[in-house]
Symmetry: C2
Subunit: 327 residues, 2 copies
């Protein structure tokens, strides 16, 4: 059973008709980066939830507890960014071990609050629980204009697939803490920052969401190779991956490990860049406005097409990213 299959089984279980509310206009989604909800006619809220577990998603030799808190909050805000939403607040459930000191708990919260504060997101409440490993479970709530909501399923054949920045830096950071690889200092700093203090692309997400020519959006959290499959499947399309924009630090690490840099970046999740499907005629215009606004490139990675399946270098692209049920 793959993660996506299990999620489909869960969705079937959670969406019997009696479970759906009759309120007209209320939106509820499962399978997107965040759930959508319509509290009143003019408002849409997006809600995302994410759990980070010590020993699974982070370890103390990879990052500090403050970094772990930051990362957990960032993962949630990234999910909101993927829906085009502006974050408003979050609630935090924290599980901790008997040996965890109050200082350590506060360290985690310091990272959570720093990342939240960076994006004007309030921490509105939470829960504390004993657990066999430090567990950070955050739910973030954001707002989005009804007309700006983007999901994974709006892509159309012909759409240009683009990402908000180069990929693989967080994976490079992980390799630096784990595999004893050495690369140039500035690139090392970049990679470790991508791993420990990733930035949710809130502004980029809102910029793209404001365009009617952006058909679909999601964040690249499990690796482009996996997430292109997810976006194109959800949109009832296939895709061709033409170029993989590899982060400089990822290229250096891949070179040092004697690996294919493209493949390394394709399998690198959690850079929190956004993947968007954009109408082909509008792409150049959007990309130039994006470059002017953010002083970086909107990077074309491929094209959606009617035939199902994802193709790269003329062959089916395997999902090389993280599957939470795998390994």
């Amino acid at each position: 059973v793959t993660e996506d299959e299990l999620i489909a089984a869960i969705a079937a279980l959670c969406h019997p008709e009696r479970n759906r509310r009759a309120t007209p206009g209320e939106l509820l989604t499962i399978g997107d980066d965040a759930a959508l909800w319509q509290p009143s006619r003019s408002h849409r809220s997006a809600i995302s939830t994410d759990m980070l577990v010590e020993g699974v998603d982070f370890a103390r030799d990879m990052m500090s507890l403050e970094d772990a808190g930051w990362r957990a909050m960032s993962a949630n805000l990234s999910d909101l960014a993927a829906m085009g939403a502006k974050p408003v607040f979050a609630v935090v459930a924290l599980g901790f071990r008997e040996e965890t000191s109050p200082q350590e708990i506060l360290e985690v919260y310091r990272g959570i609050a720093a990342c939240a504060g960076n994006h004007k997101t309030a921490i509105a409440g939470g829960d504390l629980s004993r657990a066999p490993a430090l567990t950070i479970s955050i739910t973030a709530v954001g707002e989005v204009r009804p007309s700006n909501v983007k999901t994974r399923s709006g892509g159309r054949p012909g759409d240009v697939l683009a990402v908000t920045g180069p990929l693989g830096a967080a994976r490079a950071g992980l390799a630096l803490t784990r595999d004893g690889v050495t690369i140039r200092t500035e690139l090392k700093d970049d990679a470790l920052r991508a791993l420990r203090r990733p930035l949710p692309r809130i502004a980029e997400g809102r910029f793209l969401a404001a365009s009617r020519n952006v058909d679909a959006m999601m964040d690249v959290s499990d690796g482009l190779s996996t997430d292109v499959h997810r976006l194109s499947n959800a949109s009832g399309c296939g895709a061709v991956v033409e170029t993989v924009p590899v982060a400089e630090s990822a290229r250096a690490v891949a070179d040092a490990k004697d690996e294919d840099p493209d493949r390394f970046a394709l399998g690198g999740g959690e850079d929190f860049e956004l993947l968007a499907a954009i109408r082909p005629r509008a792409f150049t215009h959007i990309a130039s406005r994006y470059a002017a606004r953010f002083r970086k490139e909107l990077l074309r990675v491929g094209t959606l097409r009617a035939e199902s399946g994802v193709v790269w270098r003329g062959a089916p692209l395997e999902r090389s990213g993280w599957d939470h049920l795998g390994r």
Copy 2:
């Protein structure tokens, strides 16, 4: 450091001024059962989050995985009930061990969906993660009329403290699965149901929230002895506990264990009854309407008073309930 002290330190960390949003009319609370949010002028949303961990909050010899899922959802809905809110939807983050089968994960979800469906609450999304123990982290969102919002802090000296039903049944259920106690079959069934399939008091909460004479409300999730302290502290009062309404099954278990039934029930959390502070002149009227509506009694347990501290049987009442940092 007690749990309440740690929560205060966390709240201080999360609420620096730069973390507060400027939107007028937006409400954000920390320390209540749920966070409150105002998505638009006419709406208030309440958001609660709770984490249940196998081996800490439940074990397989106590309940099935379906029960655990039910309980996790119920705990969240109970927090919404305590704010007077009607639940709308929830998101679920589930951590599971390598050995956990997809069938077991679906069993947990079946319990979550059953409890949610019972209260017309949709499951709108979630997250799956590896973890060293089965971890169920749910965030539920509800709606409440602005004029009906109840918090812990609205109590006034003289208010009658009342609970929506007798206490201690869930603790009795726990003792039955753990301590090898034997009691009459119907009482045993009651106790095990209270432990495994607790009902959030949504209707009771909304009924009480609709009255202007109810000043404060919370759910009894960590034991009345602890929660009376919390409500009276938050309200800047003290309290006298006059009567402890002991559930029949709790009395039977306490008798079998040769313990004081009142003390047993005072320390019994997670019955999910609501504790309300009600204006003294209105109490009789509200209690009689409550009895007519719910065919059970609104049970008086004591009185708020100006002097701080909680008194029971003429002496300070110790917090005997669950402290997540204790033991």
